[in-house]
């Protein structure tokens, strides 16, 4: 089962997507956890979290983006330009950060130059950066507009009933991932951080019903196994988006065990549930806007620090790796203050800047992790 999940997590496309497409269904990609996947699911569309995994060159990404931009959206654009995202019927771009929101224009303009890379449905979804009554009100309207646009383009109807059902299915998936977290937090850990991350990534890369079934089976197996993880240093990863399993393996190869994270390809995507009662759009708006774990929500540093503290205590970490993709100043800068405040409390931290994409810096990263392991050893 882990091999099955690993296959899903290590590539852009997978057999589930191929089967989904063969059955005549639609797939819509999105780059950020602020897009309510339930809306797409309720429309009968497969929500797919955009990734840059497998990128080998940035010849297309660099053509449209400037030189001092995060490699994550550049890699997504590269794959889109190469045709790797040809299975997408639509894309929703959000203002997750400056570089990510400009993926809207870069992809559109690349679409003028490279035939067939722009999906028929290409939508900009504005997410507020603060949590107030009027920003939630704004966000509710944004979701309703998105809902209307999906209905119109895909000639479908998204009913409240379907939304309630989708919320329940997605909440079930989140509960399974939280169960995975509790397994990782326990004494006799029996799953590596690499495998755990593969499970989490798979959740946004395949139909959620299939994922829930697969995850349930995998977790029951994990509980019974003994993978010999005892004695390893327990680490938590904080910071920029990471869906690179090789990065986690590199850390664990140094004698560590990654037991938790606060990343958007990780716990940020499932740590809180959507209210299953009341108006579904309002419930989605509140859940998606109120989980301010991302530094794009400016002014919520203390909330994020408390979240890390709580999580670190729960899983009893020996150290925290504060990583950011180069040019991701939002995570990079906040990591600087996290380091100051967490170190003061006796939690060893290591800040690391890296590139997204193929691990071209393996040697440098390994050396730094080894040094950190020596420090906390």
């Amino acid at each position: 089962m882990m091999r099955e999940i690993g296959d899903v997590a290590r590539a852009v496309s997978n057999r589930y997507i191929e089967a989904w497409k063969e059955a005549g269904h639609k797939v819509v990609g999105f780059p950020c956890t602020f897009v309510p996947e339930e809306i797409l699911h309720a429309a009968g569309i497969l929500p797919f979290r955009l990734r840059g995994v497998g990128t080998k060159t940035l010849s297309i990404g660099d053509t449209y983006y400037g030189p001092v931009i995060c490699s994550f959206p550049k890699c997504i654009l590269q794959l889109a330009g190469q045709g790797d995202y040809s299975f997408l019927d639509g894309v929703i771009i959000t203002n997750g950060c400056d570089s990510m929101r400009r993926l809207d224009e870069c992809w559109r303009k690349a679409g003028e130059d490279i035939e067939g890379i722009l999906p028929g449905f290409f939508y900009y979804f504005g997410v507020p950066h603060k949590v107030t009554d009027y920003s939630i009100e704004w966000f509710i309207e944004e979701i309703r507009e998105l809902l209307g646009a999906l209905e119109k383009h895909f000639e479908t109807e998204i009913t409240d009933q379907a939304l309630h059902r989708s919320i329940e299915i997605y909440n079930n998936g989140r509960k399974l991932l939280r169960k995975l977290d509790s397994i990782r937090a326990s004494e006799g850990i029996s799953i590596s951080g690499e495998d755990a991350m593969a499970i989490i990534i798979a959740s946004s890369s395949m139909p959620r019903e299939d994922f829930n079934t697969l995850a349930e089976m995998t977790l029951s197996h994990v509980k019974k196994s003994d993978a010999g993880m005892a004695g390893k240093k327990r680490l938590m990863i904080v910071g920029s988006a990471n869906d690179d399993l090789d990065f986690i393996r590199l850390i664990e190869d140094s004698g560590a065990l990654v037991v938790a994270d606060t990343m958007c390809f990780g716990s940020k995507s499932y740590d809180d549930l959507v209210d299953e009662a009341g108006d579904p759009v309002e419930a989605l708006a509140r859940r998606y806007l109120s989980h301010s774990y991302c530094p794009r929500m400016f002014g919520y540093y203390k909330e994020r620090l408390d979240y890390i503290r709580k999580k670190a205590a729960e899983v009893r970490v020996d150290g925290i790796i504060l990583q950011n993709i180069r040019f991701c100043d939002l995570h990079g800068s906040e990591n600087g203050i996290f380091e100051r405040d967490l170190e003061k409390e006796g939690i060893p931290c290591m800040r690391m800047e890296r590139e997204y994409g193929p691990l071209v810096e393996t040697g440098r990263i390994k050396m730094r992790i080894d040094a950190f392991m020596e420090r906390i050893g």
Partner: protein
């Protein structure tokens, strides 16, 4: 130190040449810069005086029992002055440090990184922020910014400052659309929430009379700025290149305050005289080319940029920082929904006017949405270039500007397709370690030569 230098500088024009030379010793590495301002005559002197008064106001705020707000150039100051709050504008201090100090703000840029701020962050804030975080300057009481979602790099600097110094933070958060009832309602609700924040942290309530006074000045300032913009349409442009920096620099610091009105009045008077003579605003009175900056200016190496333009008879038609979108501005004609109007008919009208003004501030208006969306960067740049008869457009920025660097290649490509020569410069406006001044001028000179932009005789000028 900045205040001390500026205070001395502001007095230089009043003394004898002996006193001038002696005083120059007190303002080391500043001689060329000072001359650049002083040769403008009264407007230059008033500008130096305004700088001295602004920095003195920041320095003395605590003594006078005033609250100090760490804020950005994109935040319009009238609402802060209405609360008697002193705006401590990070970018203004970065520019002052860049211009005044021998090596610019290099040491403060680097100090920020020692504290955990990324080296790739925007230098526009980082230059001054380092000094504030090091405790070398006044400690702000709270932070107000308005760039989340417009320029996250900018917002991130203020969020970092708030978290690092553990002081309250308020963000005005604009949607990616500018016009329409929905956006207007959101702008105004958010602005009223800001008033609540200011009331909470100053322990006062908004005084209608005080607000009316600030509004009155703001209204007059808007009229004068529009007049100056109108002059930029003339061939040759009678507006000296340096006025670009002086207008937005002073507005950043003292919008709504009498000193800024006096400066603008003096500028308009001087430009009117030049316009009547049909001469260019440059020292030689000739005009060989007209450039529009589609983003910001270039401040490093003693702010030689403006003087270089002057010496090369290149008229500066402005930058994004000079577009404030008053309804009566010539570039806002026919685009009325994008402009704002100051309405002084009652408290609510005044508050709504300031909310509208704030939501159209430089950068906030033009790059909040997709660059090629209606009302945004491409349309604004094209509109300005055509209105002001620009010979070419140049892009200066900072290495930390994720937003514009993510779309500027697309913008310049579109501008070129519209037959507007466009120069994209990889420089940092506040850090000359990225690109030297010589390298920058070399690239501009090469560009205008290759594209045949320079008119050798300046023939369009009558003098």
């Amino acid at each position: 130190m900045i205040w001390s230098i500026l205070d001395h500088a502001a007095k230089l024009s009043h003394g004898s040449s002996k006193e001038y030379n002696d005083l120059l010793e007190l303002v080391p590495h500043f001689e060329d810069v000072l001359d650049m301002f002083l040769k403008q005559g009264e407007p230059g002197e008033l500008f130096l005086k305004l700088l001295a008064e602004y920095t003195a106001q920041c320095l003395n705020a605590k003594k006078e029992g005033k609250k100090v707000c760490l804020t950005s150039f994109s935040v319009a100051t009238p609402i802060l002055y209405a609360f008697d709050v002193v705006p401590l504008c990070l970018e203004a201090y970065t520019v002052l440090g860049t211009i005044i100090f021998k090596r610019g703000t290099g040491q403060f840029l680097d100090y920020c990184c020692e504290l955990g701020f990324t080296e790739t962050s925007c230098s526009a804030q980082r230059g001054a922020l380092g000094a504030f975080l090091a405790g070398l300057a006044i400690r702000p009481d709270f932070v107000v910014c308005d760039s989340p979602g417009v320029c996250d790099s900018n917002a991130n600097s203020f969020a970092f400052a708030s978290a690092y110094l553990d002081i309250p933070f308020y963000q005005l958060n604009y949607p990616s659309t500018l016009t329409g009832k929905r956006a207007e309602t959101y702008h105004r609700k958010d602005f009223r929430n800001l008033i609540g924040f200011l009331e909470e942290h100053t322990g006062t309530v908004l005084n209608e009379d005080k607000l009316a006074g600030v509004i009155d000045e703001t209204k007059r300032q808007d009229e004068l700025i529009c007049e100056l913009t109108e002059f930029n349409r003339l061939i040759p442009v009678p507006v000296p290149a340096l006025y670009d920096l002086m207008v937005y620099g002073a507005k950043t610091m003292m919008n709504g305050i009498r000193q800024f009105t006096e400066l603008l009045e003096s500028m308009v008077k001087k430009v009117t005289t030049k316009a009547m003579l049909s001469v260019s605003g440059s020292t030689s009175t000739r005009e060989k080319a007209r450039v529009l900056l589609c983003y910001i200016g270039h401040y490093t190496t003693d702010a030689r940029f403006w003087d270089w333009l002057d010496r090369n008879d290149i008229s500066l038609l402005g930058s994004i920082l000079c577009t404030f979108w008053q309804e009566s501005a010539s570039y806002a004609k026919g685009r009325s929904e994008e402009g704002y109007r100051i309405d002084d008919g009652g408290l609510d009208a005044m508050i709504d006017s300031l909310a509208d003004q704030m939501s159209r501030m430089p950068m906030i208006k033009s790059i909040r949405g997709p660059y090629d969306a209606p009302d945004m960067w491409l349309e604004d740049s094209l509109g300005m270039a055509r209105l002001l008869h620009a010979d070419f457009i140049a892009y200066f920025s900072t290495v930390g500007c994720r937003n514009t660097w993510s779309s500027v290649k697309l913008l310049t490509r579109d501008l070129e397709q519209q037959s507007i020569p466009s120069l994209l410069l990889f420089v940092d406006a506040f850090d000359d370690r990225v690109a030297s001044w010589e390298a920058i001028t070399g690239r501009i000179e090469e560009f205008i030569q290759v594209r045949g932009i320079m008119k050798q005789s300046g023939a369009r000028c009558s003098a």
